[in-house]
Amino acid sequence: MKIVIANGMHAADYVIGIYKNHKKHQIILINDNKESAKYLADKNNIPVCYGHPNKKEVLEQAKIRDCDIFMALGYKDADNFAACLLAKKAFGARKTICTVSNPKNVTLFRDLGIDSVISSTALLADSLIAESSLEDFIKQVSIEDNSIVMVELVVKDTYHISRRRIMDIDFPKTGTISCIYRKPHAIIPNGQTVILPKDKLVIVTTPEEKDSIIKFIQTAE
């Protein structure tokens, strides 16, 4: 894959670390900050194209045409937006990703055509919400930009689904039990599978249906 990382210093360094040992990936670095450019080049032994990623001539010089991923990690949201747009419209970038400082821009930028938008503040908020549910032995992970959630939940003896076959439970159609973790095994369940106390259920659902599914499971006998 051809991966372009525009701007950012520590975030860029972290992402480079993920990709650089895979020979199948070509990494292109662009940075408009001299210090960051030098730091990234020295540390990772990869040449950095010095210049503003919002400038057409800089992207041309960096040879980003037809890249698979273009990510803009700068601190200014509007610049990240413009850089992603330029990469997509003028250079055919297949997927654009950017970070934003203002969490309100996550939805906005997505609505305006950026494929994936990441806000550390929004992630922190999501994580706080998930943590607050831990008391009820529930964890959750959001995937595909929050359109899908995976909920992890431990079955208590008092739940009405406990000691029953899945086929005998009128489980809501809006969610699926994808996996059951019963120490030390992971079970891919079918209708015959009996849910036992202390089973850890992994349920795939949508954010809208999540609460009603949790409520359904936690209903007492």
């Binding site: 919002n54 400038k55 057409k56 001539e57 200014k76 949201d77 509007a78 610049d79 937006f81 413009a82 747009l85 330029l86 419209k89 003028a90 309100k104 821009n105 906005l108 609505d111 305006l112 055509g113």
Partner: protein, 143 residues
């Protein structure tokens, strides 16, 4: 910032950015009696507006949808985007067209290469440098 009250809901012009160009445009429009609002993140920038300026001033980030809605973007007939930052201008223009379908959007860009970012949106782009050159060329009798 409170929503401006007592303003007609139709045929409004919104000027985004009250620098030298924005203030000049806003002052001219105000003299023409247009139903006008100006947005800028700095209250100080409104000092460039003339004393008899009759429009509404809104302080706030022009890429914030709440601020734009306070400025009645939903019912604007035209938006003139003239901040000094091409990235912000591109973002606001995209918001105006894609989210609010504003009929007439004019955008100032410093870098002509950035025009491609607005391609297909149906906005009209102003390049101050080119306008200055054209005027200069006319003054010296060129085409």
């Amino acid at each position: 910032m409170k929503k401006p009250t007592g303003i007609s809901l139709k045929n409004k012009t919104l000027v985004v950015g009250c620098g030298q160009l924005g203030a000049t445009i806003a002052n001219k429009f105000s003299k023409e009696g247009k139903n006008l609002l100006v947005v800028d993140e700095s209250e100080k920038s409104f000092e460039q507006l003339s004393e008899d300026f009759s429009g509404y001033k809104i302080v706030g980030e022009c890429t914030d949808l709440e601020i734009l809605e306070q400025a009645f973007i939903k019912t604007c007939k035209e938006v003139v985007i003239v901040t000094g930052d091409d990235s912000i201008n591109v973002l606001v223009a995209t918001i105006c067209k894609k989210l609010y379908n504003v009929p007439n959007v004019y955008v100032r860009l410093s870098d002509p290469d950035n025009e491609i970012l607005l391609k297909g949106l149906g906005v009209k782009v102003i390049f101050p440098l080119e306008l200055s050159f054209d005027k200069f060329n006319l003054m010296r009798g060129g085409k």
